[in-house]
């Protein structure tokens, strides 16, 4: 299945690692990258990705604000948030902002593929590492 993905994180190694994980799947491609929220919004508008994988803490516009804006600008784009936070509070904020998926960075390598598959089916996906 063809899936077009935007990756936004200010840490190039994370973008590169996420790309490596995603592109191991046939038909999945990273169509754009961004290192801050503003750039991510711009790229998303240009490319209309199926999924936006976004870091919660980025300069110029953080991931939560970006998620809100993406929901308005591109309602078809599913949002998957990456974060260092394992707190429930942050999770709730992310879901309220319109994210469908929420992954803790330590689990990205193992959970990213099932997370993308889930949000593509419009199902929520939350890292098992979240404090409940």
């Amino acid at each position: 299945m063809q899936i077009r993905i935007l990756v936004a994180d200010d840490y190039p190694a994370v973008r590169r690692g996420v790309r490596a994980v995603l592109e191991s799947q046939a038909g999945w491609s990273v169509v754009a990258e961004a290192e801050n929220g503003q750039e991510a919004l711009q790229r998303a508008r240009e490319h209309a990705p199926d999924v936006a994988v976004i870091d919660i803490s980025m300069p110029l516009m953080n991931g939560l604000e970006l998620a809100r804006q993406l929901r308005t600008a591109l309602p078809q784009t599913e949002i998957l948030i990456l974060t260092q936070h394992t707190s429930r509070g942050m999770l709730e904020q992310a879901l309220k902002a319109g994210a469908r998926g929420y992954l803790v960075k330590s689990a990205v390598a193992s959970e990213l593929i099932p997370a993308v598959e889930a949000v593509m089916q419009h199902q929520a996906f939350v890292s098992s590492d979240i404090d409940t």
Binding site: Y11, P12, A13, R16, G17, R19, A20, K105, A109, S110
Partner: protein, 184 residues
């Protein structure tokens, strides 16, 4: 021909994957191992004897700076590059005191990571200046100021504290002006 064997230490698998992909795009460089925490980094460094260790400053079990000290105690020839989230006079000082050859901000471009490893391999002050697009004299001026400030007495202890195109931006906490004011 393998020209550099590199150990990558970071507690996030996705970051290790990304750093590996960035480094292995350079022909001849090989990531010979990955470590998931500070203790693992020290053990792997001893077992694998890498040329270069790239290590995250904040890791579980043993932080990056303490791991750096132990790695260098095992094998002083190892070149360690620390990845940090912030750069401040304090961080720079701590990184250098631990014996690392330099540091990079995590947000620095992947090109900077490649340049940093190249400089560590070459181990010459002239090369540092070339990589930073500076005249040799400017780099040496900055370097001697930093050395005086940080009480480091040999150039070999301070090869590279940041790899970026505009070294002046790194300098604000250590600039020549505040140094002179303090001395007078």
């Amino acid at each position: 021909m393998v020209t550099a064997r590199i150990l990558v230490a970071d507690d996030h698998e996705v970051v290790r994957k990304g750093i590996r992909a960035i480094l292995e795009a350079h022909s001849g460089w090989e990531v010979c191992g990955e470590a998931v925490d500070g203790r693992d980094a020290v053990e792997k460094a001893e077992a694998l004897k890498p040329d270069v260790v790239i290590i995250d400053i904040g890791m579980p079990l043993l932080n990056g700076l303490d791991a750096t000290r132990q790695i260098l105690k095992q094998r002083a020839a190892t070149k360690v590059l620390v990845l940090t989230m912030h750069e401040s006079e304090q961080v720079v000082q701590q990184v250098l005191e631990a014996g690392a050859r330099g540091y990079l901000l995590k947000s620095d471009a992947s090109r900077d990571l490649l340049n940093a490893v190249e400089e560590l391999k070459r181990n010459s002050t002239k090369e540092v200046a070339v990589a930073l697009d500076l005249s040799v004299k400017t780099a040496e001026t900055h370097r001697s100021n930093i050395m005086r400030k940080l009480d480091i007495h040999s150039i070999s202890e301070l090869v590279l504290y940041a790899v970026r195109n505009n070294i002046v931006q790194v300098m604000p906490p250590l600039n020549v002006l505040s140094l002179n004011e303090r001395q007078s």
